[in-house]
């Protein structure tokens, strides 16, 4: 306990770094997945290869990716860019499936109406398809966000890992407290991030909140 008191500064620092390293890739990943997913629904032969390729990328061990990236990107070995890029890759590889599923979840008759009403294709994406896909996309967003928060700590193995550095720190000293604090804070962070996403989804999809029992016919 005294350790926590003595190291509040350090913990706070790592928490901030952790948050940054986990969330930025989610945002970048989303910005990449949506256009990519849209292209995949336009050219439907692309969708399955894309999803499969995502699966392969996702199975690359994160440690390896963290270390290999500087050699590929020309970044410095301790640069946070490496972690951000690696996690962005994971985010896209997971999220692409949800984006595609989400865009496909637009009921055929709704899409038909939208075309017939005279929406152009890009306009339709923004005004109709994306809003309706929000629940499915958010389901994926929740999973990647939480997964990223867990994965950032692996970066500690190469010296940039947010809360993960508390793990290595405690571990080297055979000292439980920092490890427990790190795990607990990761969980807490994930929980809060998840709650925020759930809240955001509620705000973005007011129609999904309504009770689904249709009222009696008012003639």
């Amino acid at each position: 306990m005294t350790w926590i008191g003595d190291n509040l500064g350090l913990i706070w620092e790592q928490l901030r770094e952790h948050l940054y390293l986990a969330i930025l890739p989610v945002i970048l990943g989303l910005l990449i997945s949506v256009p990519l997913g849209y292209v995949a629904t336009r050219f439907s032969w692309l969708a399955n290869p894309l999803i499969a390729f995502g699966g392969v990328l996702y199975s690359l061990p994160s440690i390896a990716l963290f270390i290999v990236l500087p050699a590929i990107l020309g970044t410095k070995v301790l640069s946070t860019v490496n972690i951000v890029v690696a996690l962005t890759i994971y985010t896209v590889s997971l999220l692409i499936r949800n984006v595609i599923d989400g865009l496909r979840s637009v009921p055929a008759e709704v899409r038909q109406s939208a075309v017939a009403v005279g929406y152009g294709s890009l306009h339709r994406l923004v005004a109709i398809d994306l809003p309706i896909a929000v629940p499915v996309i958010f389901a994926g967003l929740r999973v990647v966000t939480v997964a990223n928060i867990s994965m950032v700590s692996v970066g500690a193995v190469i010296g940039i890992g947010g809360l993960g550095e508390l793990f290595t720190l405690g571990f080297q000293k055979d000292f439980l407290t920092p490890v427990v604090v790190g795990v607990a804070l990761s969980l807490l962070l994930a929980l809060v991030a998840d709650l925020i996403l759930v809240g955001l989804q509620r705000v973005l999809t007011p129609w999904a909140r309504v009770i689904h029992t249709p009222p009696v016919e008012v003639a």
Binding site: P107, E109, V110, Q112, S113, A114, V115, A116, V117, G118, Y119, G120, I128, P131, I132, T205, P206, W207, V210, I211, H212, P214, P215, V216, E217, V218, A219
Partner: protein
């Protein structure tokens, strides 16, 4: 007028859905496309707003080829209603209705006011304006679909089996409302159904298509019932054809007999029942002056004693008819 000239649609997989179809759809009337499943009704309809592109032939609106226009602009000038309404689940009722006006760049106030007016026009309570589609019953959704299609006041409305997903009672209401509405607005409506009863009820003209997208017959319903061109149409029009045809027989004035003593009237002169030895039997069967022969015949058939009561617009009994009178009317 919408005109099809030798229009053919072949899907990429080789299916010929519509085959050298030629027909004219008069303005300001309801034309119904009817036919068995897969006969190309939907395809024909959707070629009009170019959500399906024809393979060959020509479709024109008031003489102008629809391909000479931008597809998006064309669509904004044509209302479109489909089964399950296809409402946008993420927009409120009023926003759904205001979709096209907004696309056309109307200012918000005007789009909204129009939407609210339409809501009432299609028989919905304005209290429903801020609901989402999921909060409406099937029949209500269908009404919103109609309102949305009407929003920019397009001269043409395409309706693809709009009422087939609701139960028969609500469907009946919706049909009545459409007819009422059409009396006000007089649009050119192309209506697709596979229900011949619906076609007969709604259509000023009915086009019966056969599988393969060929026109079998295009005629007003009465004509269709009276003179089906071939066995396919005859079978499709179905049993009770003769009885249903009476719907279109409006004898100028059916000669009525004077009210008999057995008929009990209330103070206002409305029929109440038939006096018998022991009791008063209810009058099950009345028809209004000017109603079709079908209504008169049904009144006769329904009545406990074979006498159908004719009432005037105020509900007062004015006379009775029996099977002999109806039979006479039929003969002529």
């Amino acid at each position: 007028m919408i005109e099809f000239e030798d229009v053919t649609k072949q899907y990429p997989d080789g299916t010929v859905a519509v085959d050298t179809l030629s027909l004219r759809i008069p303005s300001n009337e309801i034309t119904v496309f009817v036919g068995p499943s897969g006969c190309g009704k939907t395809t024909s309809l959707r070629m009009i707003n170019r959500t399906i592109e024809r393979t060959s032939g020509r479709i024109s609106i008031d003489g102008e080829d629809i391909n000479s226009k931008d597809a998006v602009a064309l669509r904004r000038g044509i209302g479109y209603v489909i089964q399950h309404a296809g409402l946008f689940p993420h927009k409120t009722v009023v926003d759904n209705i205001a979709t096209v006006p907004k696309l056309l760049g109307w200012d918000k106030r005007r789009a909204r006011t129009t939407a609210m007016e339409l809501l009432e026009r299609v028989g919905l309570d304005v209290k429903l304006a801020e609901r989402y589609p999921a909060q409406l019953s099937g029949g209500q959704q269908q009404r919103v679909g109609v309102a949305r299609a009407l929003a920019a006041d397009p001269p043409i409305m395409l309706m693809d089996e709009p009422f087939s997903a609701v139960d028969p009672i609500v469907r009946n209401q919706l049909q009545e409302e459409l007819l009422r509405l059409q009396r006000d607005i007089g649009k050119t409506i192309v209506f697709v159904t596979h229900d011949i009863d619906e076609a007969i009820k709604l259509g000023d003209n009915v086009a019966i298509l056969r599988v393969g997208g060929k026109l079998a017959q295009l005629a007003p319903p009465s004509e269709l019932l009276a003179n089906p061109v071939d066995d396919f149409v005859r079978d499709f029009v179905g049993r009770d054809r003769g009885y249903r045809a009476l719907t279109f027989v409006h004898p100028d004035e059916l000669p009525v007999k004077p009210l008999p003593a057995e008929l009990v009237l209330d103070d206002a002169g409305a029929p109440v029942g038939w006096r018998t030895d022991h009791e008063v039997q209810p009058v099950n069967a009345v028809y209004k002056q000017g109603d079709s022969l079908r209504a008169a015949l049904d009144a006769v058939l329904t009545s406990p004693n074979g006498w159908g009561v004719c009432i005037d617009a105020n509900g007062r009994a004015v006379g009775i008819v029996d099977q002999v009178i109806v039979a006479e009317a039929l003969r002529s």
